[in-house]
Symmetry: C2
DNA sequence: ATTTAAATCAATTAAAAAGTTGTCCTAATT
DNA sequence: AATTAGGACAACTTTTTAATTGATTTAAAT
């Protein structure tokens, strides 16, 4: 009990993440007083699509997977959530409910910050507002990319694209491929699990990637980029 | 898409559960306007210990398991949550965060009701308040029982007690034992998984229960009650 | 009409998780 | 000091879940 609480306190006493550095000390106090910290264990839901959202989540450590739920167990993965990122920003200013689910791929230390506190600080602090806008903007761009992929690309391009995307997440977790099942990859690409399996094998045969158990080694990133671009 | 939405609407258009029958039509409107409905799939978290609680959950269908998280993956199961029950009532009037986690054992249709709406209705409607008090009271009694068990009983009594408890949940789900692992049972009784396995076998040998795969048949409820009482 | 892309289905294999059992260790009780 | 309750560990088995493969079907695109 004691040791865990101590490490918790390390987090609690300081909001060290870059995006909070630009706050005044009163603003830090406001955020500090409006937050709580939770350990989400591997496999826990950080957000549940459709549930009331009275707070945003800020990831201290660990990674998670964000997805939208369709009918009948269908899911589409949207992104890997990394340390230093927010979840549920879309609930602060507009919707009152989370419009997607997310689930932790590893244990995650997370701040939950009441959304009123975020809104207040944004109104006071232009610089902080600016970084929030930047985040929204990036998310928008990513959503548009996802949409384009779903609308226009076919299997090869889709899986090549997400392989490169996941590869880019290796700096946050070098073993990220081991944390994702074939179904997870398929749900990122929006294809069936079986198709994903077959395509990965064929990519391996073509020398684009290397499959070692669940780990995937990107051998020819340029080749993959080419396939991704062609669609 | 269509069929699912239709069944959803059946729920959404009417708050049919007994405990809402005593509300005036304005109160029903207030609750209706402050609620949303979510399908939690088997294995999804309904609540996460420590997260902000801006709403209470009301179970329409399905069952779930409520537990408290300790350090290092230790959990203690508190109860089976059944249709017609609330989750998170303790957050309405006092704590701002959930003080326990809960996870669905089957798909669950759930109303999330903003806690302000519940508080408002309780203040207006004495009869509704009365039923809420009754619920709190029952939960208190159950918590005291749990505490007594943990403090004073030993293995045999603990496992006998929870077998009878789970048996009592069969009217809400006849297959409930199949939904619980040996670890789940052990975490209800507060003993190790291995001890639970061994005790179940010994109970079977003594003709108290019958084990068929994961299902458990209570053969001698009086005998179990005896063991449970003795501790 | 024919080709192509990709989902679905069914069967199989592989890997992971859960359950089981015996042995040993520890702390409390007698 | 001896006994007892019950957890912890290790080895093993069973069950469940995930991955794979090939065959078939569907639907769109040429």
């Amino acid at each position: 009990m004691k040791t865990i609480l101590e490490t918790d306190n390390d987090f609690i006493c300081d909001i060290q993440a870059p995006c909070f550095q630009m706050l005044t000390s009163e603003e830090v106090e406001l955020v500090r007083g409006s937050k709580t910290q939770v350990l989400f264990r591997k496999g826990d839901h950080l957000t549940k699509q459709g549930a009331f959202a009275s707070y945003v989540l800020f990831i201290i450590s660990g990674i998670a997977r964000q997805y939208i739920e369709g009918d009948g167990n269908k899911t589409h993965n949207l992104r890997i959530i990394k340390p230093g990122e927010f979840v549920g920003l879309s609930a602060v200013f507009t919707k009152n409910t989370f419009n997607y689910s997310s689930i932790s791929l590893t244990d995650c230390q997370v701040f939950l910050i009441e959304k009123d506190a975020i809104a207040t600080v944004v109104k006071q602090n232009g610089l902080f507002g600016f970084t929030m806008i930047k985040r929204y903007c990036e998310q928008n761009a990513n959503l548009v990319d996802t949409l384009r992929t779903v609308l226009y690309k076919q299997m090869n391009g889709r899986i090549a694209e997400i392989l490169l995307y996941i590869e880019g997440c290796k700096k946050d977790n070098p073993h990220i491929f081991q944390l994702l099942s074939r179904k997870d990859l398929a749900d990122f690409a929006g294809i069936s699990t079986e198709s994903a399996v077959k395509l990965l094998k064929s990519f391996e045969k073509d020398g684009l990637i290397e499959l070692n158990e669940k780990d995937i080694e990107i051998v020819d990133p340029n080749g993959l980029a080419e396939i991704s671009k062609k669609g």
